[in-house]
């Protein structure tokens, strides 16, 4: 009986809140990008549920009328003795027989208290899951805030698969940023295209990339023409790859050249780029296209 009760407690207090947190958090960011050992994952799970646990405990113990919602939990003064009665009766059949009807009364009061506590615990876990998910998913928007950067570096993304920021517009405030890749494979083929999806294994290691608008560099013709002294624009040797999407296995990749095209680059990015490219300090005024302009909050 005690084993059954322990399993129930484990499910209600650890498994369910963990699942609830993860299912809401993953609405904002894929969980597979967070990597780490089992111990690190367990530590993260404890940290994320410890705050709602303490808050729910405070509510269930000290904050009327919330301590009687959604069901009435009477006789708070009997809390400790009820727990003792229930635990000892679950442990020993002798105690259970001796307790008689007082066991069922104690169990009823305990059950009501647990319903109150679990209600607030799950509600707060869900709220914190949404809050952390929103913070994590809005990295590009909030990263200019130095407190947020510190929090993200140390807690939100202390262990993150590097492929997510590298192969998605995750770190850009402008979510329309396009990731372009030039991929050289072990078979000496060079592909170019837009990264539309990537896959990582349980350790956060890249397993494959899907390119759209993929083209392949016709190196053989290029070399033949070069040998024959027929010069042509390099662009002419890029040939369309049949099919909409090209999947490249990660273990076939020798070299990966990435570039990011943001339709709305910030003025700082533009100024830095121009100063470096032109080797002279410049002043810029950039007017964004109307179709890309975001609505400003009122």
């Amino acid at each position: 009986m005690i084993a059954l009760a322990a399993s129930l407690l484990l499910a209600l207090y650890i498994v369910v809140p963990g699942l609830l947190f993860r299912s809401l958090y993953r609405l904002f960011i894929p969980l597979r990008i967070l990597v780490g050992t089992t111990t690190e994952q367990a530590t993260r799970a404890v940290i994320t549920t410890i705050f709602p646990f303490i808050l729910a405990l405070l509510i269930a113990w000290y904050i009327p009328p919330l301590d009687n919602f959604p069901v009435r939990a009477d006789h708070p003064e009997l809390r400790l003795s009820d727990y003792r009665t229930v635990a000892s009766c679950l442990y020993s059949e002798q105690q259970f027989t001796a307790a008689g009807p007082s066991f069922w009364e104690a169990l009823d009061r305990t059950w009501h208290r647990q319903v109150v506590f679990l209600f607030w615990f799950y509600l707060l876990t869900a709220a914190i899951g949404l809050f952390f998910g929103y913070l994590a998913g809005s990295y590009g928007r909030f990263k200019s805030n130095r407190f947020y950067r510190w929090f993200a570096d140390k807690f939100l993304f202390s262990r993150i698969s590097e492929w997510h920021p590298l192969l998605t517009p995750f770190v850009f405030a402008d979510r329309n940023t396009v990731v372009r890749a030039n991929i050289l494979t072990v078979s000496d083929n060079l592909y170019r295209g837009t990264v539309s999806e990537h896959f990582v294994d349980g350790d956060g290691k890249l397993t494959g990339v899907i390119l759209t608008e993929a083209v392949r560099f016709d190196r053989r013709s290029f070399l033949q023409d070069k040998d024959a002294m027929r010069s042509a624009e390099t662009e002419a040797y890029w040939k369309e790859v049949p099919g909409d999407k090209l999947y490249v296995f990660a273990d076939k990749i020798v070299d990966l050249n990435l570039s990011y095209e943001s339709p709305e680059p910030s003025d700082q990015v533009l100024e830095r780029f121009l100063s470096r490219r032109l080797d002279v300090a410049v002043h810029i005024e950039y007017t964004k296209p109307k179709t890309h302009q975001r609505k400003k909050p009122k």
């Binding site: 993304f157 850009f172 990015v269 032109l278 002043h283 810029i284």
Partner: protein, 64 residues
Amino acid sequence: MTATDLSKLADLLEQDSLPSWLREEIDRRTSDILSALKRGQSIKLLGPHGEELIIGPVPQPAPV
């Protein structure tokens, strides 16, 4: 990823994250831009969707 903080990687990736038309236009008109700047003038680059980039010399601070 442990060796590099995400914020450092984000800064690195954000450098040069420009639309392709702008990069190509700057490459194509580098000499025009430089000569305009040398003359103390501004130059305007236009994008395919109505974007406008005006590049000019850094304004000098007014004499005190």
